[in-house]
Amino acid sequence: MATFVPNPLTVTLTAPAEPFYRADLEFHGVDHAKASFEGRLFINNPQASLETPVDDESYAGSFWIFGHGGCAGDEGHCEPPAERRPFDFRPEHQLTPVSKRVMITDKLRALVSPGQEFTVRIVPYVRPEHAAALPASLVTDLLQVHRVDLLSYQ
């Protein structure tokens, strides 16, 4: 039913100084309300797209979102509350955005000099045959990320 059109995002970060033992990219506020998808990460490759293979030198890893598959309820059912009231002990809303963490230690060291700025291109990917079975609303504007952090253990 739908053809997947990706909406990649690019962020600019700064590599840590050496020595560092581990470097992680953390993605916060990741939306998971729609279709399942892979978020492919490319370093210093702002043109990376669906056609860029994951064995490209710039590929640094992926995160994977197991999607909620849209909203089965009435209007408003799938909108997380803007804030949680005190004494609200119910489970967190199912669609509260999630955080993802991808370890990129070796790739960062290989591709970026210490202290240098670099870009991370996030390319969402949905298998074409899967997208074809879904309504367009589930694969449109799929990638929503609130913030990206580079964490380094030094």
């Binding site: 039913m1 399942s36 089965a72 967190e92 993802k100």
Partner: protein
């Protein structure tokens, strides 16, 4: 989970979950018989009801993207397995097998074949997607399907020879010492497998209707169990141990920390024997005592 007598026979009564490739023909037949019986039940003992706990019908109860991911799914498997045991004759040996996608390329044969040699449908190959009010399928969510389907394959070239997480990736995850690190990375491998299977398994609302869901999650539970063995005291921080695991009224997070306390393990006996009395082996004759 409360009020049970402590028994000296606990260890011997423990069930062992096995790799699906290690199941004998009789064990696969028993598993199929149990799943078939659960599929025939339309009430809250049946397959449809338990598949629906994970996703649709509302409410969607599964927990993802959270440190509760592993405890919640362990409780879920436990309840499902108890109902599987319920439908079997007393004493039947049946437990959920695991699909080690890191070493077994593709859907396991026991779950892949649509038909059995006798021509009957294989209950592990697919199931009805039912019990969901039609109003819960609309133009804004996954389309209604009458039966599970799969489109197995990699999510693009370059993700290893078959597109599934590799044994090296599993080993790397097992080496992580911090629980939050471990669970987030394991959950990502889990997500990758859901997408690899494709079709119904790809989306939360209907994934658990596919029988292979249970073999996949038993693998995830097994990897957690292996991590617990490798990292004693690793815990589940930052999850409070007394956190309830709805909708499983008798289990908290603390009660999911030990598989043996839940009555199962993954360390199947690889060799067993019944001791028999045997005559002492003939050996050198004992020197006769001599009088001095």
């Amino acid at each position: 989970m409360t009020g049970q007598a402590v028994s000296k026979t606990t260890l011997s009564l423990r069930r062992y979950r096995k790799s699906v490739t290690a199941l004998t023909g009789a064990e696969i037949a028993t598993l199929r018989a149990g799943i078939t019986k659960m599929l025939e039940l339309s009430d809250d003992r049946g397959f449809e009801y338990w598949a629906g706990i994970h996703g649709l019908p509302l409410p969607i109860s599964c927990t993802h993207g959270s440190p509760l991911f592993l405890p919640w799914h362990r409780a879920y498997l436990y309840y499902f397995e108890q109902h599987l045991l319920d439908v079997m004759p007393s004493g039947a040996q049946v437990s959920l097998p695991w699909w080690d996608w890191s070493t077994q390329a593709g859907i396991p044969a026991a779950y892949a074949a649509e038909k059995l040699p006798d021509g009957a449908a294989n209950p592990l190959a697919g199931a009805r997607v039912s019990g969901i009010p039609s109003a819960q399928f609309n133009e804004f969510n996954v389309p209604a399907v009458g039966r599970t389907n799969r489109t197995p394959g990699p999510t693009g070239a370059g993700h290893g020879p078959n597109g599934l997480p590799s044994a090296a990736q599993v080993s790397a995850v097992l080496a992580l010492k911090d629980f939050e690190d471990f669970t987030t990375q394991l959950e990502d491998l889990h997500n990758q497998v859901h997408m690899w299977v494709g079709g119904t398994m790809s989306e939360i609302p209907v994934a658990a209707f596919d029988p292979v869901f249970w073999a996949h999650h038993t693998m995830i539970d097994r990897v957690w169990a292996l991590w617990q063995l490798a990292h004693p005291g690793g815990g589940v921080s930052p999850v409070p141990l007394d956190h309830p695991l709805g909708p499983f009224p008798t289990l908290t997070v603390a009660q999911t920390l030990s598989t043996t306390a839940l009555g199962y393990d993954y360390a199947a006996a690889t060799s067993s024997a019944v001791p028999t009395a045997t005559a002492p082996a003939a050996g050198p004759a004992t020197p006769a005592a001599t009088a001095s």
